[in-house]
């Protein structure tokens, strides 16, 4: 049947968690009610756009996007837009500055400045229908490779493209393949790293949910290039939807002869298996991941030998990240030259980031390398909400660092980010505003790494604990002269003495915060002040008697019974009972609750 309209309904993990499937049922009902079922088709897609605005729906061919849908909105939406052709403004994206609704997806700055390569099929295909993927050039690159390229030519193409690993370290992908191809040994394996353990990161999950075949095709091409015929996708068990889509994609591809024996009749065979990991952060480290597949304790081991030399079951193994694999087919189809013209001198192509924190447009973005952090935060991210001031952007998760305002014009590039004390990492990007304490923020990442350290190396296990202890003291107002210097020394020592990337990078959040926000640490230590008024031991809440109307709202809301006062008379806060939760301040209409330094030094 020829449909006139396709409703691209996002059914990613996040949209489903806020009711996308209920919306789907409701739309189906309404479409039936208006006898439109022969004209309008609903397509479940993955990762369609602004992830915190779900459930979202894109109406094609009109290119109209709707956000925050509720079941009650659907009857009106179906009647107005789908029956009568009048898009519903009240359900559209509102520009954070002009406050006007924007009708077309491609007019929204968030979307317009993205460049989709690995997410080329985001919001465009039903990931459970391989035919739709094929119609958008899926498996075309694999066919081209099998028909007309030698493995060496494939490797050369990937080398020429300048593609570097997207899993964190940025190792040149073509070179990695070349090494693995050259190593003697059989069988060989390819592995896809979909462990994605960084807190707040969801790039890899989204790529798989939107387009699992992009990953499978990349792996098949890589396997052909290095001479492997078997591959594993290591994915955390907390990603049930991504796992389901991957498993289905493998079955479909096998049915069509795009995986398995004698692919496309061209004589090459490749099998892909899904391996579900239990989700420890350290399992993302490649040697630890391989041990986990072999059912051994997931502890990193020294390298060399690298996995290319001795990997899975001691066989030559090439491991790449989800996003790295998803780039491969696009490079083969459009050529190394095309790819290498995107980005900067040393960083080619695009990078997917999950943009989160104090930012108007939180979500998943794919941008060309070389765009500046300023463009990321203000143009794509739409700036900071509630009129607050930008403070820093944290890049690279627990292995990365913070970049301050003064460096916002830094281009996104592996080397430049490293110079600034951050790393590209796997693509987590957290924006924080002026109300964030950088000591507390650094502490947060250290709590994570201290928890996730596998414990094998003393430096990482004990070093992270010692650094966390110092940071905790500082936030409690018990910091001492010399703490900063000791943190720096210890941070460097942990880097040097740890065997794997976890320990080698865990001090980055602290060291970069010290590099750019040293005065904030000093304020905590010397003056026992938290300039952002976050650290509870260093602040007090009080009520301005001139402003307080005595409405009694704060008194009712205070969970600690720390507020006293008579109706219509100024109230008081008892500091010894106050738990510094801030509920009174949030609830006060007269803005009479004030935050002060606890120690006036």
């Amino acid at each position: 049947m020829a449909y006139r309209t396709n409703l691209m309904l996002c059914t990613c993990t996040m949209c489903v968690s806020v009711g996308a499937l209920k919306i789907k049922r409701k739309i189906e009902e309404e479409i039936k009610r208006h006898n439109l079922e022969d004209e309008i088709q609903i397509i479940p897609v993955g990762s369609s756009w602004l992830c915190t605005r779900g459930p979202t729906l894109i109406v094609q061919p009109d290119d109209v996007v709707y956000q925050f849908l509720k079941e009650d909105d659907i009857p009106h939406l179906v009647e107005e837009h789908l029956l009568k052709g009048r898009p519903v403004k009240s359900l559209m994206y509102i520009h954070p500055e002009t406050l006007h609704p924007i009708e077309k997806l491609h007019q929204i700055p968030f979307y317009r400045q993205q460049r989709l390569i690995t997410l080329r099929n985001r919001g465009m295909i039903d990931p459970d229908k391989i035919e739709e993927c094929i119609a958008r050039d899926g498996y075309k690159a694999l066919a081209k490779v099998l028909k007309s390229m030698t493995p060496e030519e494939v490797i050369q193409e990937i080398k020429d493209s300048g593609l570097r690993g997207r899993g964190g370290a940025g190792f040149p992908t073509g070179r990695k393949w070349e090494v693995c191809r050259a190593v003697k040994g059989s069988p060989k394996y390819v592995v896809c790293n979909a462990d994605e353990g960084d807190p707040g990161a969801f790039m890899d999950r989204s790529i798989i949910e939107a387009d699992p075949h992009a990953v499978l095709e990349g792996m098949a091409i890589g396997a052909y290039a290095i001479g492997a015929s078997e591959g594993y996708i290591y994915i955390r068990i907390e990603y049930p939807l991504a796992i389901k889509r991957l498993e289905r994609a493998i079955l479909e591809a096998r049915d069509y002869g795009l995986l398995g024996e004698n692919i496309l009749g061209a004589g090459f065979s490749f099998e892909a298996h899904v391996f579900k990991g239990a989700g420890a952060f350290v399992c993302g480290e490649e040697t630890s991941l391989l041990a986990s597949i072999e059912s051994k304790p997931p502890e990193p081991r020294t390298r060399p030998p690298y996995p290319a030399q001795s990997g899975l079951w001691e066989k030559p193994t090439n491991i790449n990240n989800v996003e790295t694999w998803a780039n491969v087919a696009a490079i083969i189809n459009q050529g190394a030259k095309w790819f290498s013209e995107i980005g900067t001198e040393t960083s080619k192509g695009t990078k997917v980031f999950s943009l989160a924190g104090n930012i108007n447009n939180a979500g998943l973005v794919e941008v060309p390398m070389g765009i500046t952090l300023r463009e990321m935060v203000y143009d794509i991210g739409g700036g900071i909400p509630n009129g607050k001031k930008f403070k820093a952007v944290q890049i690279g998760g627990p292995s990365g660092g913070v970049v301050p305002d003064s460096l916002l014009d830094l281009p996104i590039d592996y080397e430049r980010l490293q110079e600034a004390g951050a790393i590209m990492g796997s693509g987590g990007m957290v924006v924080v505003d002026e109300d964030t304490c950088m000591v507390d923020f650094a502490k947060y990442f250290l709590i994570f790494t201290n928890d996730e350290s596998c414990g094998k190396c003393t430096s990482c296990r004990e070093g992270s604990a010692a650094m966390l202890e110092i940071l905790t003291r500082i936030t409690e107002g018990k910091g001492e002269e010399g703490d900063i210097e000791f943190l720096e020394e210890l941070g460097e020592a942990v880097k040097e003495a740890s065997q794997c990337g976890l320990g080698q990078t865990l001090s980055n959040p602290v060291l970069s915060a010290l590099m750019h926000f040293r005065d904030e640490f000093e304020a905590h230590i010397k003056y026992k002040k938290c300039p952002a008024f976050v650290c509870k031991d260093l602040i007090t809440y009080s009520i301005d008697p001139d402003k307080c109307t005595g409405c009694g709202l704060c008194l009712k809301q205070c969970p600690a019974d720390a507020i006293t006062g008579k109706l219509k008379k100024p109230h008081q806060i008892d500091d010894s009972n106050c738990i510094k939760c801030g509920v009174c301040r949030d609830s006060c209409k007269a803005k009479a609750v004030i935050l002060k330094d606890r120690f006036d030094k």
């Binding site: 006139r4 094609q60 061919p61 290119d63 029956l83 052709g85 050039d137 069509y256 795009l258 009749g265």
Partner: protein, 127 residues
Amino acid sequence: MPKLKVEDLEKISEKVKRTMLLREGTGRAKIIVHMGTCGIAAGARNIMTALLKEIEDKDIKDVILTTSSCAGLCSREPMITVEVQGQPPVKYVDLTPEKVREIFAKHVLLGEIVKEYALAFGSERVA
């Protein structure tokens, strides 16, 4: 499922092509059916059905069909606007399924405007 050969990928693509062009919003022509309350009352739904059937029967892949609200000429409904790529849009008025089929065959597919059903074409004003 028969295993695919390299040539088969193209065949699968071709089958899904219309759907993909629709999602990309590209095609050689776009037909807008005006679906205000007035349009629906005057029979715009039959116009839509007739057009969908044409597209299906003739297996046309690159023509996009969409709706919009009342065009401000309620007495001349049902109406459609035909936008052939690279040409100014043309509004057709007082339509019936027969007329629409003729417009589809001549204007949409061959690029020949059907003047007798068209409102002053190339302009939005009523002559």
